[in-house]
Amino acid sequence: MLLPPGSRRSWTAADCLPTDMEASGYSARQRRAINQVWTACGDYKFEPQFLAMQSDGQPDLYMNCVIGLVHKWFGDELPKQLFAAWAGDARQAVYDDLAWLALENAVYEKELPKRPALAALRQAHASAFFESEYQLSRQEWMEKNQLVYAIQSARWKTVLGQRLPVLTPWEKGLSEALACPGTMSGEEVAAAIRAAFQKYLRFDGTAHAKTPLTLHFGERWAPLLTKLFSTEMVRTDDLAIGRSAAVGENGMVRASNALRSHLRSNERETEDRDYVERCFGRSLYAPKELALMEQRDCTGNHLGCHLWFTRGEPSPDKPVSADAQRLFQQAEEQAKRNRAAYVKNSDLYQSALLRLTEQIRNCMLIHQQPDAVSARQGHLDSRRVWRLPVLGDDKVFLRSDEESTPGFTVDLLLDGSASRLHCQETIAAQGYILAKSLADCGIPVRVSSFCSLRGYTVLRVLKDFGEKNGERKIFDYFAAGWNRDGLALRMAAELLNTAPADKHLLILLTDASPDDSHKILPTGKVPLSRDYDGQVGVEDTADEVRALRRKGVRVAAVFMGENANVPNARAIYGQDLAPIRRMDQLSAAAGRLIQTEIRELSG
């Protein structure tokens, strides 16, 4: 006797995917699945509600074609309304699977004359259904629903031309009712499905959800439970490296007492400085040098703020507190997650990497002017000719060199504030792709992240210009704290002094929403202290971008954030803005900005 069976294919509803999926994009397999859907329907703007994946995680070509064909034949609204009728119902999975079975038959018959290959795909799908029976574990069998399994078996046996399994008259009736012919219109198919569910499953047209259980916990239980279960993220001035509380993920949160925005005493400053050093690593600059920089940069709106440049290396002379130890462990865990996410989707990322490298190399090849280099033959260089008799140096000619150096550097500045918690893995992977492809093309690139904490704006260099194969360090990226964009830009300007070329391109990943807990101190013009956020933050950042541009630095931004912030992004970065909808478009967008730069540099 069979154990309770259910749907063989695991249907992943895209609208039920974790929210970070929306932001960070699809995995390689999901991307392939969605491409199968698009191939069948031909509409590349269609965002499917469902994707068909096999139990081993591979996309199911035939059923993804069916999803695409349902969109092609019945449009977007009708299937949405149909599935919405039982959304949230306790038996939603059963209804979904059975409805797809009905839709499958209808669209198969409709499409077959136009696409004869569908017959072979359907046969292969049916064979795979029965072959996979032997590969399922006991647990997977337990998860299956017997009714769905029986109806599916009947369908795929029919497709293979084999004898039908033994069905009860009731199951047989349902199976026949769901074999919607291709002559039916979309409305007729939907009506037939509803009628079949009403007759055989007593579905009355409204979803009956399970009543959720609500429990309230007191102070003693809350800290423990928040560690165990996913919780909502609250941004604080205590550093916490963790994951967002997105659906389906184990989030974590660190409770905080209050936002610190008042002026601090000297003792407090030392404490904060130690805290920042313990959390982010030792400073790149000696205290004296850093003090000079603070004197230069922490003026105007940033009066009372502090700077911290670091590479994330721990301070050898500082005692490691338990707090710092835990934070380092969390950072390491995040780095591991970043690397694992890259490995998991390495096919997709490798493809993006190759494509970007090719585009940039091509652009360089086309637009660069040949450089004149000193050589032993060519045109005589009158400025160097003295070297031959005096130094015995016979390189006194100029030869044109096609393989010229790019003549500019790229700085990628990643927003590392807590607003990016939900897509840290994708940001790390995209940063890696960009840095690796630029390095492969010989363009010097530095990748840094910035965030603010307790009045300190921390700029963490993940990969520096000179570091060979340093791209892998980008996986050490993590998000935490606030973001004081204006001050971060001033810090980026400080770092640019060390870049190995005269021309610079600074690309920011931003949500155009500067927000810091450290207030703007009262000035002569404005006697009250103000929050560093909203319009004030935007104006300050825009001022800093203008200041950098006056110095000859090209500043561009890849924007990903709420639509409401688009005008802010435009106000800050003007035309040099590349908005993206998903984080997996970051490297491509930055790549386009770099290509524009190469074109403009070549005049």
Partner: protein, 304 residues
């Protein structure tokens, strides 16, 4: 070829114009072998009429369009219709003026000028097909300015000035998106009449396959046409690169199938393997699988 144009219902005035041109500029016998004999016909009445009219008016043509739009097919077809010898010049990044006009060489103990393809074309009144013209650097192309505009002359430093023969025309082809291409500068573009080549449509493809493979089953001919259009759409949506959007590759695959290779292997060789990245290959294979079963063979595809 003129019969084909009549079939395509090209306007009578234009066909008469071609006939007059051919009578006015007969090709000498020694250059007859330079008149191309294209393997494929170009399908598209509007583009045919526009290009014939431009050439009859003495204009040079620039055919701009993405991959597989038939730019070179049309260029060759035009040379054949006008019965002119043609010179093909494939442009590349390191192209310089000397490779177009000609360069000095040593012959019989003397430095002499060895004419380049553009020079020869201008001298003999041929059709110069400047393939992928936007691959060359703009500095190299500046040498063509006087050849292409009202001056119609090539002045070779140190040698004679050559007047461009009145029968000579230049047809440039270019693709904006191709690897290695650049924007063409305004000065050069203004010397051409530009035709934006439309992507080949289903009907054109169907006719092409029908002509090239008369014994291909009609049902599957339609599927191959749809397969190409599916790949085109995927490419336009930037899900795959244009490497796999290869009409030549698809025709090659069909030839392989006719020789006895299975459809899966042949399409891998002709289309899928042109993308070297395994992820992209997966996407392309899915598109193919949704149209052409991998096990399909010669016996089911071809009637002969």
């Amino acid at each position: 070829m003129l019969d084909f144009l009549e079939q395509e219902q090209i306007s009578k005035e234009l066909l008469e114009g071609i006939q007059e041109y051919r009578n006015a500029y007969p090709t000498p016998p020694e250059l007859q072998n330079r008149i191309p004999k294209p393997r494929y016909h170009y399908y598209g009445k509007e583009v045919w009429e526009a290009s014939i009219a431009a050439l009859l008016c003495g204009e040079n043509l620039l055919l701009a369009g993405s991959k597989a739009t038939g730019k070179n097919v049309l260029a060759e077809n035009l040379a054949q219709v006008f019965a002119r010898p043609s010179w093909d010049v494939s442009f590349h990044v390191n192209m310089d003026a000397a490779s177009l006009i000609g360069m000095d060489t040593f012959e019989n103990g003397q430095v002499t000028f060895r004419p380049g393809p553009v020079y020869l074309c201008a001298q003999h009144g041929g059709f110069g097909i400047l393939d992928e013209i936007n691959m060359a650097k703009n500095e190299a192309l500046a040498v063509l300015h006087a050849t292409l505009d009202f001056r119609r002359a090539i002045d070779v430093p140190g040698y004679d000035r050559v007047e461009v023969d009145p029968a000579a025309r230049f047809i440039g082809t270019m693709n904006y998106g191709y690897a290695g291409t650049r924007e063409l500068n305004e000065a050069l573009t203004s010397r051409f009449a530009v035709i934006q080549m439309p992507a080949i449509d289903g009907d054109g493809l169907d006719r092409l396959l029908g002509e090239e493979f008369p014994s291909l089953e009609k049902k599957y001919r339609g599927q191959f046409v749809q397969l190409f259009l599916d790949l085109q759409k995927k490419c336009e949506s930037a899900e795959i690169s244009s490497k796999a959007l290869d009409l030549r590759g698809m025709l090659d695959a069909l030839r392989l199938i006719r020789r006895g290779i299975s459809a899966g292997t042949a399409l891998d060789m002709g289309i899928t393997n042109k993308a070297f990245d395994s992820y992209e290959q997966g996407l392309i294979r899915d598109v193919i699988a949704a149209r052409i079963p991998a096990k399909l063979d010669r016996s089911r595809l071809f009637t002969d």
